[in-house]
Amino acid sequence: MAALPVQSRTMSSYVTLRRSVTNHVVTGVAIVSTILVLVPLVAIFGYLLYKGASSLNLAFFTKVPVPVGEPGGGMANAIAGSGVILALASLLGIPVGIGAGVYLAEYARGTWLGAAVRFTADVLNGVPSIVMGLAAYALIVAKQQHFSGLAGSVALAIMMIPTVTRTTEEMLSTVPKSVREAALGLGIPKWRTVISVSLRTASPGIITGCMLAFARVAGETAPLLFTAFGNQFWSFDLNQPIAALPLQIYVYALSPYDEWHRLAWAGALVLIVMIMASVTLVRIFANRGVLKGGN
């Protein structure tokens, strides 16, 4: 009679011990893997800062690339080219994306068509960027018979649309119904309500979403490989091959020249700083409400 409780007590203490050990082991594993994940992150940023900062100079921002063997040169044309391509891409992609977001949030809530558009946008978001480049090549470059900045912009614009759509929709759905109903109750037509009430209320979030989409495509190389193609000289002609910062980094990184490697590191640092800075700045301004838009 006495044996049973003793045995069960030792059994239960053994089980408790095992459970507690497992618990601690799992906790340890979780902590260690988080540290493991942070290592490459710190390594990437640290190395980028170290290599990039030591190779940056004024010439990088003011000169165009020089032929192999000559020291110096910069990526001024690539920075400008990226700016032109991205500006056109935003011009094409953001309005359509916001429109689709408005449609989803204000007109298609709960309908099957809305669900289908939302789902397609999500799926389109996961399509590889190189495929967008191929599509833009087939659409524009193959017809025109020459590479062009325009084709690059179209590829990037297509990539921006799904991201902008989904963030716009999410931000619009945070606008309280009562605000919309108040506007509609005053007899303001729906289109005016959407533009002046819903979109304006949600504008900080939408601007942030657009900036995130912008930041995502700003670093893209694959869609530009055979659309914008790159250019060693100054060019702002969207109908011609045009230089872009990520493309230039890609070409220089794979080259066998130390001088070009140096420029690639400098370019990578500039690219990352530009992306981070644009996102952070707009976030700050959007949160402050400065960009909420006057009347």
């Binding site: 497992t22 618990n23 799992v26 979780a30 988080t34 994940v37 992150l41 390594a43 990437i44 190395y47 980028l48 309005p95 994306g97 429109g99 689709a100 408005v102 449609y103 204000e106 007109y107 809530r109 709960g110 068509l113 558009v117 946008a121 999500d122 799926v123 389109l124 996961g126 399509v127 590889p128 190189i130 495929v131 967008m132 191929l134 599509a135 090549y137 659409l139 193959a142 297509i158 919309r180 509609l184 007899g187 037509p189 729906k190 289109w191 005016r192 309500t193 959407v194 930041a215 670093g219 893209e220 190389t221 694959a222 055979f226 980094i249 890609y250 990184a253 490697h261 990352i272 992306i275």
Partner: protein, 366 residues
């Protein structure tokens, strides 16, 4: 729970918008309202007419503008379908030559010989699948462990910074990963990690010298770093969507933290976690630039992970600009088409899984 809320709101916007233009009644009421709210008579006279004028203008133009605006927004929404259809259409028309020449054998042939015009995509499919699986195998345990750490173990003051840092990984452009891979990761793989792997795991046949640093394994590592933020952030969302009372119920039965996570959280969120893994897989399948820079770009099907490889995306990136001849170009575009269709299917499955979990738990939580 949500049904009764959504029905009135979907009707509400259309009713007043259509009803008010027919009745002139709101105008005097509104003037009275404005003058009541305003402090004195002077603001009322300045504010009143302009409000009414705006109202009248809006009223007169409301119906046409409303219709036009609705159609415009609908077109924007439908443009997303149009983009998908357009991509498929142009890719199919431009790869017609290769589809006709090789048929389905294209995806089962090992030769890739631009000189004699003989093309088969099997080595690239092998490379894509192998590098992506390697990446998923490395990234998933780390991502899940980090999610658990951030949700349940991490002290509050560290939670924000660490999750911000992991999200930062997602903001680094592919080409920067590639640059870092070429100059930092490749030497490490060649000189430090390679010999260790060869010594202890060489017997498996997966890690055999010569090891030049560039190859399938390095590509897998860099892909793992790149897809980590996707898996981690979505699996965290899914785990967070599990109702709190599930956790509390398991804890109340005397479970340890790990048991609570296993029984209460991971089991409930498993479909969504699988979805997040598939989303990461989808990203790995299509990742181009970083992989192209470190994988070695050599078509072949070998077991050795140190050997250079080639993926669907990297063969397009590497050979498209130099491709001569229509058949060569159309074979590369057919590879792009295959990549597009595969990633569409993979992403669709993943989205459905994540959506199912989040919706189910959102419904059960309230």
């Amino acid at each position: 729970m949500k049904e009764p809320e959504t029905i009135p709101t979907s009707q509400a916007p259309s009713k007043p918008a259509e009803a008010t233009p027919d009745t002139a009644a709101p105008i005097p009421k509104m003037r009275a309202f404005v003058s009541n709210v305003a402090a004195g008579p002077e603001p009322a006279t300045t504010v009143g007419p302009s409000v009414i004028r705006n109202f009248l203008q809006a009223k007169s133009s409301g119906r046409v503008a409303d219709g036009a605006f609705t159609v415009l927004m609908l077109l924007c929404g439908l443009s997303i379908f149009a983009i998908v259809i357009l991509i498929v259409f142009v890719l199919v028309t431009h790869s017609e030559l290769s589809i006709k020449a090789f048929g389905w054998h294209f995806f089962a042939t090992r030769t890739w010989d631009p000189v004699s015009g003989d093309f088969g995509a099997l080595p690239f499919i092998y490379g894509t699948v192998l590098s992506s699986l390697l990446a998923v195998c490395m990234a998933v345990p780390l991502a899940l462990a980090t999610s658990i750490f951030l949700l349940d173990i991490c002290p509050k003051f560290l939670r924000g910074p660490i999750s911000f840092l992991t999200e930062l990984l997602a903001a680094i452009p592919s080409v920067v990963y590639g640059l870092w891979g070429v100059f930092v990761l490749v030497p490490i793989m060649r000189d430090q990690a390679g010999p260790i792997l060869e010594k202890y795991l060489g017997w498996t046949g997966f890690f055999v010298e010569p090891n030049f640093g560039v190859g399938m394994f390095t590509a897998g590592v860099i892909l793992a770093i790149m897809i980590f933020p996707v898996i981690s952030s979505i699996s965290r969302d899914v785990m967070r969507a599990v109702p709190v009372n599930q956790r509390e119920a398991v804890l109340a039965l005397g479970a340890t933290r790990w048991e609570m996570l296993r029984i209460g959280v991971l089991r409930n969120a498993r479909m969504g976690i699988i979805g997040s893994v598939i989303l990461g897989l989808g990203r790995a399948l299509g990742e181009t630039i970083a992989v192209t820079m470190v994988i070695g770009n050599h078509a072949g099907i070998v077991k050795n992970l140190f050997a250079p490889g080639y993926t669907l995306a990297s063969v397009i990136a590497n050979e498209f600009s130099e491709a001569t001849g229509d058949l060569y170009l159309s074979a590369l575009i057919e590879i792009g088409l295959a990549l597009f269709l595969v990633t569409i299917v993979v992403n669709a499955i993943a989205r459905l899984l994540v959506w199912a979990v989040v919706r189910e738990n959102a419904g059960g939580a309230h």
